[in-house]
Assembly symmetry: C2
Homo-oligomer: 352 residues x 2
């Protein structure tokens, strides 16, 4: 597992000395193109203009069609297995480009420059790369660590509140997996205070993630605890993308995870006695920062069916990560009835 | 690196005991469907009929479009990371299915049952999986060993002479990398004598290949010697697929490698003094067993340009594997002029 380093002229130089690439290219989130020239300067100094590509991040980028287009672009740039790809963007762009780099000519070195809170605390670490196929999230992917992660929290100032909060749901997840102390710190930090205090939380999340990933790099055991909120979250995210977008805007990943946390902790409360007091703190936090998500009883089955396709499910059970209390995760099986009751709970307390 | 085992009820049982799959599926070359029921019986006993898929092998199968279709089929079969995929077919089908298995849900166990000589001596071993993109051979892929290789030379009786000879070009390549003794054995064995004597050659090729792959699994150093005949061969194979198929039938992989061996050894002769006597033995062998391939001076540049896209090329050189003598490979750079002269030589001596 790689340590992250800061994003500066010096760390880029050190990276080039280490890898000695025959060529560099950069794939950059197109939202950064115009306003963030100063932040992109270190990349621009090592990647010539004709080998920079701008792509719009977000789930839509993670498609097989774009894999082909980017592979052909890399080939036109004469990128070899001895080159270096920079990718500057959020979690989806890193997941996608990480996958392309892992399979292009059977693997090209890649350096991640995460620009969203979500990417900084979660997506950039652990080597999970992926694309979606039809409506099935992350159906194809590989485990492949990037060769470097270059972190600069100044990118956080480029984000909307909604993007910050989406990442903050992952920060909350790490706190729930860790201990009461970190949980209290996360609930008392204002995520929307211009990035103040976030770097410390980011570093703590990365430390926690590394601990799980090092113990179980291929996600066959305790790494699955990082999936807290994600069995339900992934399904809701996928579901939200199937609806008519003007009347039912799609959920961001972290927004879906926030709902997933509430649903899965409700089941944790019912089956494992997860404390009600903590449950209420989390619901209050969600009410303060996240819009309610509206869905109906008759849609429960569609959502549950999407869960059955989750990679973590072996056979036909719906496995979720539950908590006995903060810092004590375990994998349990939830029934359709338990999930339906937990959806009811979410809609009651959040008003969705 | 895996040892191969025979393809029998016992080895399949042992594999199931080792992996304990929650589900098995099989992807089978459709050419085997009708005539080879007896040979497929061991697979049929562990894979129910509704989880068997028939695909036509050959280069065409290695496409991104089919990656998607097969991934969705696996998903419909509810294949998980704890399942087991059997693939029964030739090199292209193994390369393709190996790639799909490596990226489906970030990796599912797979067992190869190679059915062609090419697959038995070469494709099944070493963990190279790949698909083509547009006309660029193996542009996307990963290194991923299968969990088992189940070998049964009875499948060789299902092959056409042309298929046997295509594989035999790879056998010749291994002999050229090994020593005069194995080379003499390869030239004095009749490849078309109903598989007689082939199992011994197959085992020797696999031993040689394993030695290179174990020393250099990611193909960054001496494993590239296995590329003898392939820089030119891959380019010619790709080139042959771009022509009008009725007047210019596409080359099989081994047929293209046979030409590549002659072209690259001619350059070896010119630059490194590879012995003329051996050169003539190889040309005589090629004349006895392979049809001449017709191409023209004005097509040389198209073929050479395809070589520049080869993964083994770092930057803009055209690297080929050359021999000082049998058993003494080295990587050298060839110029366009040297390649053109070597193409001329092939066309003169073979009559293409």
């Amino acid at each position: 597992m790689l340590c992250h380093t800061d994003y500066s002229e010096e760390t880029l130089q050190a990276l080039h000395t280490r890898l000695n690439p025959d060529k560099t290219v950069a794939i950059i989130d197109s939202n950064l193109r115009d306003g963030q020239r100063a932040l992109l300067e270190p990349i621009f100094r090592v990647v010539p203009e004709n080998r920079r590509l701008y792509l719009t991040g977000g789930e839509e980028v993670k498609s097989l069609g774009l894999v082909k287009e980017i592979a052909l672009w890399l080939n036109r740039c004469r990128v070899t297995r001895h080159s270096l790809i920079y990718v500057v963007g959020g979690g989806s762009l890193l997941d996608f480009c990480g996958f392309v780099a892992a399979i292009y000519k059977r693997g090209v070195p890649i350096a991640y420059v995460p620009t969203t809170l979500m990417a900084m605390v979660d997506a950039a670490y652990g080597g999970k790369t992926a694309i979606n196929t039809d409506d099935i999230k992350n159906l194809l992917g590989v485990f492949q660590e990037p060769n470097a992660i270059l972190l600069d929290e100044r990118f956080l100032t480029t984000l909307s509140d909604r993007e910050i909060l989406s990442g903050y749901a992952e920060v909350l997840k790490y706190a729930l997996l860790e201990d009461d102390q970190f949980f209290a710190k996360v609930l008392t930090t204002d995520p929307l205070n211009n990035g103040m205090g976030l770097r410390e939380l980011i570093d703590q999340c990365v430390t926690i993630k590394k601990r799980f990933v090092e113990a179980d790099p291929y996600d066959l055991g305790i790494r699955q605890y990082l999936n807290l909120g994600h069995t339900v979250g992934h399904a809701l995210e996928g579901f939200s993308h199937t609806l008519e977008p003007l009347r039912h805007p799609a959920l961001r990943h972290g927004e879906a995870v926030m709902i997933g946390i509430i649903v899965e902790l409700y089941i944790s409360h019912k089956l494992l006695g997860f404390p009600l007091e903590r449950m209420h703190q989390i619901v209050d936090f969600a009410k303060e920062f996240f819009s309610p998500y509206f869905f109906e009883c008759k849609q429960y089955n569609d959502i549950i069916n999407l869960m059955l396709q989750d990679k973590k499910n072996s056979g036909d059970d719906i496995a979720i990560i539950a908590l006995r209390r903060i810092g004590e995760p375990m994998k349990i099986n939830a029934s359709r009835v338990q999930l339906r009751n937990a959806f009811d709970f979410y809609r009651e307390v959040i008003g969705g």
